[in-house]
């Protein structure tokens, strides 16, 4: 059914259709509206016997999820930013225990300085935690990927994060097609756990494993991710058959075939990029786009196939490994290491910095001339940076960097009469 709603409400609809049995809720912007919406559905009784727990922290949220999933209940929670970091010990633990929890990440920057707006610092911090990480481009895709996430998680007995850009998707009103309950039931069978805590067949979960077996256990966790490389496209095809939409999968091409330059990114930013790339193609440039929908597992082989004829790849990401550079770019370089392709690393949109058609086009053109520095900080104001570096050089106690920059930007803006 077509509806006009914000991304959070749409995700709550989708999760509700998946018949969750336990939901842990803790507020953190920008995912809060999702658990609020689910809470009111549970209270109204529209989600049957689903239990909604108002927990005391994100660590409590993931921990209750671990308990309920281990006891065989279909389990859901959502988080963002600091919340993701606060639950991190449980995030690793859930995957180690092989618990098919589904968690939405409303992607948001990590502080300090505290910042509520979108980038991928939170889910990137959990990229090696053994969770599958799927990125949504639109609210429709967020709906569809959540439904696929439960099936994927439960088939492999591995937790799945659905990552959606905070505010840009979670708070954006858009027309979405909400699936019917019958369709979802056809696609997603009831949860049959591989193992669960059951008094009629007692097991011990979470035993200590020493050096004699830890390597093999970790490899098998990696192997589950590799299995997901086959399963994700299979389930996307099955989804398309029932719902009539191409949603999910490992990657999505936006006219990247046989192009000299291919922009690779994830999440919602491709929406703006698609227009820029189309304009540039109209102007005669050989340039296309490719989005990675499954960041973990990383679809290296598919990327090699898609990019084998490209001359250069511009990796655009909203994540920054301090002291190193672009995280997605590092992954891309590893995947493409045997191909004769130049990989540019561009980091942008940090802490919600607007990404516009104009600044994208300038950056793409620079990339096509192979003039991007490594890494390239998109839309950075180096004058502001340099003035702060000078202040720090001149005076040891030069004050808070964040405050100095804000004052600097404010003064400059006032002087320019902006």
């Amino acid at each position: 059914m077509l509806k006009q709603m914000d991304g959070s409400d749409a995700v709550a609809e989708a999760v509700g259709l998946c018949r969750p049995e336990v939901i842990a809720s803790y507020p953190i912007t920008p995912q809060t509206h999702i658990v609020e919406a689910l809470g009111s559905r549970v209270k109204k009784g529209t989600l049957g016997n689903c239990q909604f727990l108002n927990v005391e922290s994100e660590f409590g949220a993931i921990s209750t999820c671990i308990g309920s999933s281990a006891a065989g209940a279909r389990t859901y929670t959502a988080t963002s930013s600091q919340g993701m970091l606060f639950m991190m010990e449980g995030v690793y633990n859930a995957s180690g225990l092989g618990l098919p929890i589904v968690m939405t990440v409303g992607n948001r920057a990590i502080g300090a300085p505290i910042n509520i707006w979108n980038d991928w610092g939170d889910s990137m911090a959990a990229r090696d935690a053994g969770w599958i990480q799927l990125f949504a481009e639109t609210n429709q895709e967020a709906i569809d990927v959540h439904i696929q996430a439960f099936k994927l998680a439960e088939e492999l007995s591995v937790p799945v994060m659905v990552c959606m850009d905070g505010f840009i998707l979670t708070h954006a009103y858009a027309r979405v097609d909400i699936p019917d309950q019958e369709q979802v039931d056809e696609f997603l069978p009831p949860f049959q756990p591989r193992q669960s805590l059951d008094p009629s067949a007692p097991i011990s979960m979470g035993a200590m494993v020493g050096p004699e077996a830890f390597t093999e256990v970790r490899f098998l966790a990696h192997h589950k991710q590799i299995e997901a490389l086959d399963l994700i496209p299979q389930q996307a095809a099955e989804f398309e058959k029932i719902f009539g939409r191409d949603s999910g999968g490992l990657v999505k091409s936006h006219d990247c075939e046989d192009k000299e330059t291919v922009v690779v990114t994830m999440g919602s930013v491709i929406g703006t990029m698609k227009d820029v790339l189309a304009d540039m193609r109209d102007d005669g440039h050989s340039i296309g786009g490719l989005t990675i929908r499954s960041y973990r597992p990383f679809p290296s082989e598919v990327l090699r196939q898609k990019l084998k004829t490209a001359k250069r790849v511009i990796v655009f990401e909203k994540s920054f490994a301090l002291g190193m550079g672009g995280i997605l770019a590092m992954n891309m370089r590893m995947a493409l290491q045997d191909l004769p392709v130049k990989v540019h690393s561009v980091i942008g949109g940090l802490g919600g910095r607007p990404i516009t058609r104009e600044n994208l086009r300038r950056m793409f053109e620079k990339g096509m001339r192979d003039e991007l520095e490594e890494p390239h900080l998109h839309d950075i104001n180096m004058d502001v940076v340099n003035r702060e570096l000078e202040r720090e050089k001149a005076e040891r106690r030069s004050g808070s960097i964040a405050e100095n920059i804000l004052q600097d930007v404010g003064v400059v803006a006032a002087a320019k009469g902006i």
């Binding site: 842990a24 727990l53 209940a73 010990e89 979470g206 035993a207 200590m208």
Partner: protein, 340 residues
């Protein structure tokens, strides 16, 4: 009950043939604590790797078996990281014959909440949930999750095995470590040797502050009382907290044969008051029959050796005053207040 025991487990296991401890002989046959019987579930099986004289292993075995009896064997356990977890489940062995999960150090209460929610969602509220951990996993790192579980009144019995320190990691101070005690992080050096006399955390009283249905303290010196309190706890729905005093020979520097003696002396000196509370109100406390001075209790433990050295008399006096205050506060002597 016997039929409920998994077939893979030995159904009958005799630890010793009958018990004739003093307390037992004073009771009617059916009221006695029985260590070995064909009906006993042996949820925490023999062959685990606890140290000789471990109070925690004893407390856990009696507590869990009592839960099994109270629930007709329909129970699930969540366990915090710590000695109990490590000595019972070195992969691929397990000493548990109940469904059991270890997740993390600081989240046993929340994992318990999650299991209870799953059982509710599935209409299996006959399956009851316990969460358990040592004092470090309870009073320190697991405190947020514990308080959250209390606050929501989730249907979980939390069992804290209090041995007054982080014994699994090598005897460090926890917020349940008593004043003056030597631990690896409160060494008996300097002008105030051992653990400082800070307020510490009295989690049973804090649990009462949450107005949860049932809070109690017990000691492995009185297993009959421990079983009674577990059974009583299981008669309530909602959040319940039972703290069990479990001496640790390794951490306390005591003889392994003195575990029960120390557990009893902690009660009889007033250092560890035994009481019960319902919905935030104390409903009863165990009276001390033979009150003893604290030095008799402390002398048996090397962790307090320095309080008997010249110049540290004030530490001994402070410890005695803590015991005196407990006796007054909880009315542990008939002469010290009304029978509660």
């Amino acid at each position: 009950m016997v039929d409920q025991v998994p077939e893979t487990k030995q159904k009958v296991k005799f630890y010793q043939t009958g018990t004739f401890t003093v307390g037992n002989r004073l009771l009617d046959g059916e009221q006695r604590s029985v260590q070995a019987t064909i009906d006993r579930s042996n949820s925490l099986d023999s062959g685990h790797r606890a140290c000789q004289g471990c109070g925690e292993a004893l407390g856990a075995r009696f507590a869990i078996d009592a839960v099994m009896r109270a629930t007709n064997n329909q129970m699930i356990a969540a366990n915090a990281t710590g000695c109990l977890e490590v000595f019972t489940t070195p992969y691929p062995e397990t000493a548990w014959s109940v469904p059991w999960i270890h997740s993390l150090f600081g989240n046993a209460a929340a994992v318990g909440s999650g299991i209870a929610a799953a059982m509710k969602a599935k209409g299996r509220e006959d399956v009851r949930v316990i969460a358990q951990g040592g004092d470090g996993g309870t009073t320190d790192i697991g405190f947020g999750c514990l308080s959250g579980m209390f606050d929501r009144n989730d249907d979980v019995l939390y069992l804290c095995y209090n041995n007054q320190g982080y014994m699994n990691t090598g005897v460090q101070r926890s917020s349940a470590t008593p004043g003056a005690a030597r631990t690896s992080t409160t060494m008996p050096v300097g002008p105030e040797p051992g653990n400082p006399f800070t307020v510490g955390k009295n989690v049973p009283l804090i649990a009462m502050g949450h107005q949860i249905p049932y809070v109690a303290t017990a000691s492995v010196s009185d297993l009959h009382d421990l079983e009674h309190k577990v059974t009583k706890a299981m008669s309530f729905r909602g959040a319940r907290y039972l703290e069990i005093f479990v001496p640790c020979p390794l951490g306390w520097g005591s003889k392994t044969c003195d575990t029960i003696k120390l557990a009893r002396m902690a009660v009889e000196t007033g250092m560890y008051p035994l009481f019960e509370a319902e919905h935030g109100e104390i409903t009863g406390a165990t009276k001390i029959r033979n009150r003893r001075p604290v030095d008799e209790y402390l002398k048996l433990q090397r962790r307090f050796a320095h309080v008997f050295k010249k110049g540290n008399e004030h530490q001994l006096e402070t410890l005695q005053s803590i015991a005196d205050r407990n006796i007054k506060k909880f009315g542990l002597m008939d002469s010290e207040g009304a029978d509660q």
